[in-house]
């Protein structure tokens, strides 16, 4: 289990500050979801936690050591990040892609050890991609493609996995499929999962902990059922809504006000 921590993180794009003196502790072995409106800095925060962006001040700590002191390969054996909308070169097969996840364990003489083979096989099994392993990435559907990329990060065999909007551009079926997969990985192998999600209701359903970001500050953090309420949604998303309980999962369910049809006798399945 990996502990990731940001200490007084300060970061800006050009002259525009994104964060100032931000502190955040990601609990190990849990699913943490970052939410916030567009441009609030949640993706930037996720990318900083994975050393893809260098903080101007402050530091990121991984298991008690400062990340900037660790080699990139050392970090890659403990933490994997899947960026938003990754693109594979034309004609690359699923197997060839998943293999790349073994990069941090390879050298120019050791390019395909028994361990590499085992982990790639396991990653393909877990994501249910075995039958598609010889297909090229560009011939797959959106959901399959995302599963192939997740398989690549799984082959990296890291205790922590960070994902930037893993469900964007996927239809509902594939969103659930991807989130269920991540939920199982957390439950069965207690991997730490940190992701950015747009859908607040799915965030409440899958996350142990939600971090709501607004204007480069952490507005609130905690279990969805303790922090999620009308005021948070109003302040963070600038939207009026009613928060109720999901009829199946009991997790917070946010129903936005606004215009739309009204039916007098609601149909309940």
């Amino acid at each position: 289990m990996s502990v990731i921590e940001a200490r007084s993180l300060t970061l800006s794009y050009g002259h525009k500050p994104v964060f100032a003196e931000l502190d955040l502790l990601i609990p190990p072995g849990k699913i943490t979801v970052l939410i916030g409106s567009n441009g609030c800095g949640k993706s930037t925060l996720l990318r900083s936690l994975a050393r893809l962006l260098k903080p101007q001040e402050g530091s990121i700590w991984l298991d008690g050591s400062e990340m900037s002191r660790l080699s990139s390969k050392e970090i890659a054996r403990r933490l994997a990040i899947l960026p938003q909308g990754p693109v594979a070169p034309e004609g690359l097969t699923v197997h060839q892609l998943v293999k790349q996840g073994r990069y941090p364990y390879q050298s120019w003489l050791q390019q395909w050890s028994k361990e590499d083979e085992k982990m790639v096989k396991k990653a393909l099994e877990v994501t249910d991609m075995e039958d598609l392993s010889d297909r090229s990435i560009d011939s797959l559907s959106g959901g399959q493609r995302q599963r192939a990329w997740i398989a690549m990060t799984l082959a990296q065999n890291t205790p922590a996995i960070l994902l930037d909007e893993p469900t964007t551009y996927l239809d509902m079926t594939h969103q659930i499929e991807v989130l269920d997969l991540l939920f199982d990985l957390n439950e069965q192998e207690s991997r730490t999962i940190v992701m950015v999600l747009h859908d607040i209701n799915l965030a409440c359903r899958y996350a142990h902990r939600i971090v709501a970001v607004k204007d480069g500050l952490i507005y609130a953090q905690g279990a969805p059922e303790t922090i999620m309420n009308e005021r948070l949604i109003r302040d963070v998303f600038d939207m009026e809504c009613q928060v109720t309980a999901d009829p199946i999962f009991g997790t917070p369910l946010c129903i936005p006000y606004g215009r739309g049809r009204k039916v007098l006798q609601p149909v309940m399945a």
């Binding site: 893809l52 990139s72 050392e74 990754p86 070169p89 060839q96 990069y103």
Partner: protein
């Protein structure tokens, strides 16, 4: 039935697809056949059996003389220059993630040509062994200039190609101007510089050409192959490459240095032979897919084969004229480039 072959020892392990092995073997055979044809054909045709006898040192003395001192050095140069240009192009396309790139299109070869012409014009008293140094220096200077001009918060593929094409044209114009205005230039030197500019390996010799290029070739090609796996992760994008632990910028700089040096060395000896660096990697990807462990060796073999055949046609089709091989690579390459531009229009993959 396994499509993949795994080789494992105590300290090493590799995986290669059966298809890649087959393609490499077949291309190697084609290259050997092309070499035999190249040394056999010419103003004096030598039959294949006599060629083989001469190659094993048991042939007719006059045949052996023609093969070993006249045709073989030129053939060996074709193999080295063709494969070096192809590998340089393959690396460059991977580095900038742009299939429309090659060292000649974006002006790196143009820089190398300028470096070579400067050497021919002003350093004729220095040993020819140093000619690749001058060419590689020119290639680096061009690469740095292109980078500076094309950089605006990162480098987009399209801007790189456009700036590069402009740079290539400007460098060629400048090189010609240099040749024409160097009024002290004796005619022989000017002719040498002109022949060089069209991309010809005419009159290649063991000592002057082969031995000058060989050390660069023997050092750079294995390094290119070793660095192939870094390109595989870079092709997935900078973020993914960093996520799997690649030091992206350091690796990219080394890869660029290898690509530029290969192009520079090849241009020093082969002249401005165009389009091989563009075509060979494309054909290689069609044959074995995009993984660089396969693309690098297959590109090398294709580049070598294309230049062998182009030079053969250039040499024997218009006897007694000896046309520069670059004319033929351009004749196949230019339509190929237009086809690629057409396919990649609107930024489609």
């Amino acid at each position: 039935m396994s499509k993949l072959i795994t080789i494992r020892g105590r300290k090493h392990s590799f995986q290669i697809s059966r298809r890649t092995v087959t393609v490499i073997a077949m291309l190697a055979i084609a290259n050997i056949a092309a070499v035999m044809i190249c040394v056999g054909l010419g103003s004096q045709t030598i039959n294949p059996i006599a060629v083989i006898r001469s190659l094993f040192g048991a042939g007719d003395p006059s045949d052996s003389m023609i093969i070993w001192s006249l045709r073989m050095p030129r053939t060996v140069i074709a193999v080295m220059v063709g494969s070096a240009l192809a590998v340089s192009g393959a690396l460059l396309q991977g580095i900038v993630r742009n299939p429309l790139t090659s060292p000649d299109i974006i002006g790196i070869s143009g820089g190398a040509s300028l470096g070579t012409v400067v050497f021919i014009l002003y350093f004729s008293h220095v040993s020819i062994r140093f000619m690749p140094v001058s060419s590689i220096a020119g290639a680096f200077a061009a690469a740095i200039l292109i980078y500076i001009f094309a950089y605006r918060r990162g480098i987009t593929p399209l801007r790189l190609v456009l700036i590069g094409i402009g740079m290539a044209t400007a460098l060629t114009a400048f090189t010609y101007m240099l040749i024409l205005t160097a009024s002290f230039t004796p005619t022989a030197v000017a002719v040498k510089a002109f022949t060089f500019m069209t991309g010809s390996i005419y009159g290649a010799s063991w000592d002057k050409d082969v031995l000058t290029l060989l050390p660069w070739f023997l050092i750079l090609m294995p390094i290119a192959l070793i660095f192939a796996r870094h390109l595989n992760v870079q092709e997935l994008g900078d973020d993914v490459a960093a996520s799997v632990g690649s030091s992206v910028h350091a690796k990219r700089t080394i890869l660029l240095l290898i690509s530029v040096a290969l192009a520079g060395a090849a241009v020093a000896i082969g002249g401005a032979i165009n389009f091989i660096g563009l075509m060979a990697p494309h054909i290689a990807r069609k044959l074995v897919g995009p993984a660089y462990g396969g693309v690098i060796p297959v590109s090398a073999l294709i580049g070598s084969l294309v230049l062998l055949l182009s030079d053969l046609i250039a040499r024997v089709a218009f006897i007694p004229l000896d046309i520069p091989a670059g004319v033929f690579t351009a004749a196949i390459g230019a339509p190929f480039f237009i086809y690629l531009l057409y396919r990649h229009r609107n930024g489609a993959q």
